[in-house]
């Protein structure tokens, strides 16, 4: 009895292992998924040599500000901008993702320091980039530390020189007690030095320079920007899985045979895309209602929003259909969807700031569609910047590839 049951147990186990080996796509995907996700995760958390691109507007233009820019260059890839519209140019370059950060050094920056008063610099950043926003104040503060030490050293030296000056003046005053005018002048000098020390702020001692953070999106709350991440991720997940399994279903039920025998697959493909675009629009409406009910406020450029949803729907459904073409079962299609979704999510910049990742990870992220979909939503909903032609071209190329594959590989 025990031997028979052991044989049965072994038989069932053997069946599953043999199937895993024979169904090669299952096997590859089972091993590929942990391998791929593991590698990407390690890339994400690896220390990065990549320098964040920073634009600096120096309105002070003194030795102090130059010294500050030199200090920043150790941590960032700094580019000095000039001109009256320097700040505006900075903001626009962040919106278009040419730079990740902007720093403005105000006029009178060095005067404040000379007067031993706390001063500040303005940091422009993309507050719609959630993970990067959380990182940036820390990153700028850390980069300013050497400069702060330099300022405090300078202050310390000045303080000592002032004390020396007071001591000298007192000594001179004692020696020249017969000359009233000289004494008077020396005492005035002492008084001036003492006034300067009296005027000194505690804040200056603690923190000679503060950063004023200027988010480029002036929304009501941070929760508003979350839609730029959650919607593309959800849309991708759902549409990828539904469109890939939908094609498998049509293949399995031989509906595609019927389509091919009666018409060209072009109409079939278009109708599938339209269906998933409509699903994408529905998902957007649901998420939008949720965000609005939590107090979010957006601008509504209707045509741009529609184009954005169409593009996201088209790209996701086409990727899903390609998965459906190369998969032979719904299980394989789901695994493929996961294989694609996981890296896309890890490299989307929602969990970890892309700017802090190694260059390889940044390159990978920028060729993957989710990164562009997130930026598309941000452009349309927050910056009113319209739609880039690159994403339209991507959708077109994807369509051509998918149509070719559908014609060749379906049936």
């Amino acid at each position: 009895m025990i031997i028979r049951n052991t044989r049965r147990f072994y038989g069932y186990l053997k069946k599953d292992f043999t199937l895993l080996v024979k169904r090669k796509k299952y096997m590859y995907l089972t091993f590929l998924l942990p391998f791929l996700v593991g590698i990407l995760f390690l890339l994400m958390i690896s220390p990065s040599n990549a320098k964040i691109k920073v634009g600096v507007c120096d309105f002070d233009n003194t030795d102090y500000s130059t010294k500050l820019i030199d200090g920043l260059s150790n941590s960032f890839d700094v580019e000095l901008l000039t001109g009256e519209n320097c700040a505006l140019e900075l903001v626009n370059s962040i919106k278009t993702r040419k730079r990740s950060l902007g720093i403005g050094i105000k006029e009178g920056f060095s005067e404040d320091i000379n007067n031993l008063e706390q001063t500040n610099i303005v940091v422009y950043y993309d507050n719609t980039d959630i993970a990067f926003s959380n990182l940036i104040s820390w990153k700028v503060d850390v980069s300013l530390n050497p400069y702060k030490t330099y300022i405090l050293d300078k202050f310390n030296q000045e303080l000592k020189s002032k004390v020396n000056s007071i001591r000298t003046n007192v000594d001179v005053a004692l020696e020249l007690s017969d000359n009233f005018n000289t004494i008077n002048s020396r005492i005035r000098q002492i008084d001036s030095d003492l006034k300067k020390i009296e005027k000194m702020q505690t804040r200056f001692l603690i923190e000679p320079i503060t950063t004023i953070q200027k988010p480029i999106y002036e929304g009501q709350s941070m929760s508003e920007v979350g839609i730029a991440f959650i919607f593309p991720i959800l849309a991708m997940f759902i549409v990828l899985m539904l469109s890939s399994t939908s094609l498998i279903y049509d293949k399995k039920t031989h509906f595609t045979t019927r389509v091919k025998s009666s018409t060209s697959l072009f109409i079939y493909l278009i109708s599938k895309i339209v269906f998933f675009v409509l699903l994408t629009i529905l998902q957007f409406i649901i998420i939008l209602i949720l965000f609005l009910s939590f107090g979010a406020k957006y601008q509504y450029p209707f045509l741009d929003i529609l184009s954005m949803l169409v593009l996201i729907g088209v790209i996701n459904s086409l990727i899903g259909i390609i998965i459906g073409i190369i998969s032979d079962s719904e299980g394989v299609a789901l695994l493929f969807s996961l294989i694609i979704s996981f890296p896309l999510m890890l490299l989307s910049g929602i969990f970890s700031p892309l700017q802090a990742m190694p260059i390889v990870a940044q390159f990978l992220a920028k060729i993957l569609p989710l990164y562009h979909e997130i930026n598309l939503v941000k452009s349309v909903l927050f910056f009113n910047a319209g739609i880039s032609s690159a994403i339209v071209i991507t959708a077109l190329i994807l369509f051509i590839i998918t149509y070719y594959l559908v014609e060749k590989r379906v049936n």
Binding site: T253, H254, F255, T257, R258, V259, K260, S261, S262, T263, S264, L265, E407, K408, N411
Partner: protein, 328 residues
């Protein structure tokens, strides 16, 4: 003079070509020099075949002979590049797909939707209105005796009913050419009879039917034309009588031996080669011979007696298509 002669010959050739082309234009289906390969493997080698209106053409052949591939090419299921031409009423199949109804070997319906929804969706797929599709479906259901509630799901139908529904869904657009790939698979005798009646009724309404089947005995009763594919080529194209003549098998002679030694078998084979007798089947002590005349039978019996073999004559009769097919 010679030039003039060439000129006249040229005109005649053009005229003949024109007539030839017109014949093709009139034919519902015409395949000309069709070649197709799966990778390096040549599946169809230079197939030329015309299908007449209101006739049943049966394409038969062993597994892997290229029957299904040929039908799929006709129906446009295989859209990869192929050599040659496939014309439907004289035009490329791409422009005339609506004239063709393809009944695939695999049942094609949406199992999660009701029969009615399947009918409507399939009708729309063929470019006809839902109402027209339902009307046509009811008509076909009557012919195929599928009297089920339209709200039922196809998964709740029996095997035979599923096949009938599949056929109905393939013919909703009232095509003039019906291409059926193994339509009888999995059907019991009564369902097969019903389907043959249906095919005959389609033939009466001037539809051209092309089908493949392994049930050769049934096929020979109904098909107007037999096309035998062998290794991707047309081995035979005609009716049963001309096939019998071609293969020179007039009778089937079957015997069962009590014992048949290897040396005896060798002798029989040698004799059969000499007398052009076909050994159609040999299984253990059973042998089936394809012979041309009663005289050949007597000669064969003489040989068996000469070899002192103990045997029992199982049959001596006219061959059916299955048996002829053994030689092909």
């Amino acid at each position: 003079m010679i030039k003039k002669g060439f000129f006249v010959i040229n005109i005649m050739i053009q005229k003949i070509k024109g007539i030839f082309n017109n014949i093709h234009l009139k034919k519902p289906l015409f395949a000309h020099s069709v070649k197709y390969a799966y990778g390096d493997q040549q599946v169809l080698k230079n197939i030329t075949l015309g299908i007449k209106e209101g006739k049943i053409t049966s394409i038969i052949g062993k597994s892997g002979s290229g029957k299904s591939t040929f039908l799929k090419l006709i129906a446009g299921i295989i859209s990869n590049k192929y050599d040659g031409k496939i014309l439907i009423f004289g035009k490329s199949r791409f422009f005339k797909k609506s004239k063709l109804g393809f009944v695939s070997q695999d049942l094609a319906f949406i199992p999660d939707l009701s029969i009615l929804d399947n009918i409507k969706i399939c009708g729309l797929n063929y470019g006809i209105s839902e109402e027209r599709a339902v009307k046509k479906a009811k008509e076909l259901m009557k012919l195929l005796r599928l009297e089920e509630k339209l709200e039922k799901k196809p998964t709740n139908l029996s095997g035979g009913q599923k096949v009938r529904l599949h056929i109905i869904l393939s013919l909703l657009h009232n095509p003039r050419i019906i291409v059926m790939d193994e339509p009888f698979v999995g059907l019991d005798f009564s369902n097969r009879r019903l389907l043959w009646h249906f095919i005959e009724s389609m033939k009466k309404s001037r539809k051209s039917i092309v089908l493949t089947s392994h049930l050769l005995t049934e096929t020979q009763e109904h098909a107007d034309k037999l096309v035998i594919l062998k290794d991707g080529k047309i081995f035979f194209n005609g009716n049963l009588e001309s096939l019998k003549n071609k293969l020179k098998i007039k009778f089937i002679f079957e015997v069962r031996f009590s014992y048949l030694s290897a040396s005896n078998l060798k002798e029989i084979k040698k004799y059969c080669d000499y007398r052009e007798i076909d050994i159609l089947e040999k299984y253990q002590n059973f042998m089936m011979f394809g012979i041309r005349s009663t005289k050949t039978r007597s000669a064969l019996i003489n040989l068996l007696e000469k070899l002192k073999l103990i045997y029992q004559e199982v049959g001596f009769r006219e061959p059916n298509l299955d048996e002829i097919f053994l030689k092909a």
